[in-house]
Subunit: 367 residues, 2 copies
């Protein structure tokens, strides 16, 4: 069922890195000053791609050239990093962004060493952009760890100590299946799920698992754990695309949680070059919706100034300019309240699984 | 091999709750104003218990009596909460601290409802104290999630959908085995490990797993993920006590990380009533030690003022008043530097597993 073969991915990534290096050789040979063209990553250079339904980078680029000391140093660092990544792939190893930064201290050329981790992080993003290969395919692991899955899904994970066949209900403890840093090592063997429910908080995730929601409704409960890691978003996208499962996102009812939904559905400006790899534009927002605070009379807290500002900034954000979001955000500004997922417990511990979710998911056409 | 039977634990916890309620009945019947005696939880009321080697609460207590409106309300809340917990155990359910707070809104007596979550959290700690039963045995789940284990350990976890037999290398993905909220549901079926290595950061945990350190050295790699959850500390303690495994703690080299070591080894003031349940006083500190920063010439950052203050406060802390810690902390104040675990990568990605850990663990008598 899976479309991804990690070995082929590795070979592709290596090839792209070597091509990058070849470009520099060609420039030298032709008597040109080496340079690299990089798409500009700013708010003004993201555009909505109608075809894929995600926000991607526009056409604007900037040039990094060796005709200044600063530019030359940047290119030197790119070359050392490219060589490191190529060797890492060759040896089938991996490392973290932080390790890369520290590792540069062992490089023989002092000018190639990074001044701080922002610089090395930035460079990896640049290399993703110019090569079209993701960080994960360079075997750069994130510090952020992937979250957990519980539900009727049978997977095979390629680990560095062999393949593991795991059923995400029968072969795992109450804590569920831990998503690896690179979910493209996962092959889907079988799936009895009807949809995916991404859940913001650990408390609500545990509630759904204890109440057997994944079992009763044939649902994959994916724990986001706040702002979701790339691994979590990537797996969600793959489950959606490859297994044709609808995605519903269930968060707290405040502007920060709407951004969590946004990062699953639209991606972020920072990773706009990866939207097609990470974003699931078909993902729908379950709640907590401002209308729920009113309709269910949920326990709530007053909006802080920072909440109000964040809501107002969302009203300006092209990704939230839909009738649904404008209505919800306006309503929230009117009532001046926010509520958490677990506030549903005010109606009893089973209200969320017996009433709230079935009703809402039915309305949304998912059940 | 396991000493813990969850069903017996549940029954014991229920009995203690009923005893608490009976005490109030007896007081009423005897014509006394109902009251509850609670050990005082302050810095001045913790004492070192020679026998268990941990810091526990001293003899000072305070009395909560119904002879004031405030006291009467507190006792009313205690009674409602006791009833809720008793029913929860009876029905073999569980809930989070946050859910309890929200749930109180559904209670029929308005005076029994909590004003804020601090109040309900505090009450649960009070009930732990007076009943001698832990929060986990009340089936109160934490929001904080347990971390992950990788290594030659074979466990059986009692989940709410049946038992699961899991080998923490052969049956899990690269992410490892996810520790459940209540690790007393785990039975140890078999163990080929020689020691436990608790690791602070995800990046270092992944490095050790990728390099096969758990396999090469028969080691259980426990990922702490910053300040460790109670579940993680409890499992570490059980592995130490029941399987007789030495515990080594590997963190960044700064005062905040020494506190992470401290929470594994000594427990905290907040949970001093649980030290015997959570703390592993035999746990040893691997590093990063200030001496390592000097000896290995590690990449470092200068100490911030807050770091210096934290180090000075540790020098005053009875739990850090050993020759080892005084020497290390003094050395760190002298050099004015701190380093992270991953700074070891400056000597190559394998330095930590080929050199640093084997040498240090050998010196410590663990290898």
């Amino acid at each position: 069922m899976s479309e991804v073969d990690p070995d082929i991915q590795d070979e592709k990534a290596r090839k792209r890195l070597i091509e990058l290096a070849e470009k520099f050789y060609d420039q030298f040979e032709g008597g040109d000053v080496p340079s690299m063209e990089i798409p500009t990553r700013t708010k003004t250079n993201i555009v909505f791609d109608e075809e894929s339904g995600v926000w991607v980078l526009g056409d604007r680029t900037s040039t990094r050239s060796a005709n200044s000391v600063r530019g030359a140093k940047k290119l030197l660092k790119s070359i050392y990093t490219t060589e490191f990544l190529e060797r890492q792939l060759e040896e089938n190893r991996s490392s973290t962004l932080r390790e890369l930064y520290y590792l540069s201290e062992s490089w023989d050329n002092e000018h190639a060493q990074f001044d701080n981790q922002d610089e090395s992080n930035q460079l990896i993003e640049d290399l993703e952009l110019v090569s079209g290969v993701t960080r994960e395919d360079f075997h750069m692991r994130p510090e952020e760890s992937g979250a957990k899955v519980m539900g009727p899904l049978h997977i095979r994970e390629q680990t560095n100590r062999g393949d593991r066949d795991i059923h995400c209900q029968d072969d795992v403890g109450q804590g569920g299946y831990q998503i690896p840093n690179n979910p493209d090592t996962i092959e889907f063997l079988g799936c009895d799920a009807e949809f995916i429910l991404c859940v913001e908080t650990g408390g609500m995730r545990d509630r759904l698992v204890e109440n057997g929601f994944d079992d009763d409704y044939d649902c994959l409960v994916v724990h986001l754990g706040g702002q979701p890691a790339r691994a979590t978003r990537r797996l969600t996208k793959r489950l959606h695309d490859e297994l044709d499962l609808p995605v519903a996102v269930f968060t707290d009812g405040d502007p920060w949680s709407y951004r969590i939904y946004g990062s699953v559905a639209y991606g972020s400006i920072k990773s706009a070059h990866l939207s097609e790899y990470l974003a699931t534009p078909e993902a729908q927002f379950v709640g907590i919706r401002p209308q729920d605070i009113t309709e269910y009379d949920l326990p709530s807290d007053p909006l802080a100034d920072s909440d109000t500002n964040a809501l107002e900034s969302e009203l300006e954000d092209p990704r939230f300019q839909t009738d649904f979001w404008e209505e919800q955000i306006q309503h929230q500004l009117d009532i001046g309240k926010k509520s958490e997922q677990q506030a549903l417990a005010a109606r009893g511990l089973d209200f969320v699984t017996d009433e709230y979710l079935p009703t809402r998911l039915d309305e949304m056409g998912i059940l």
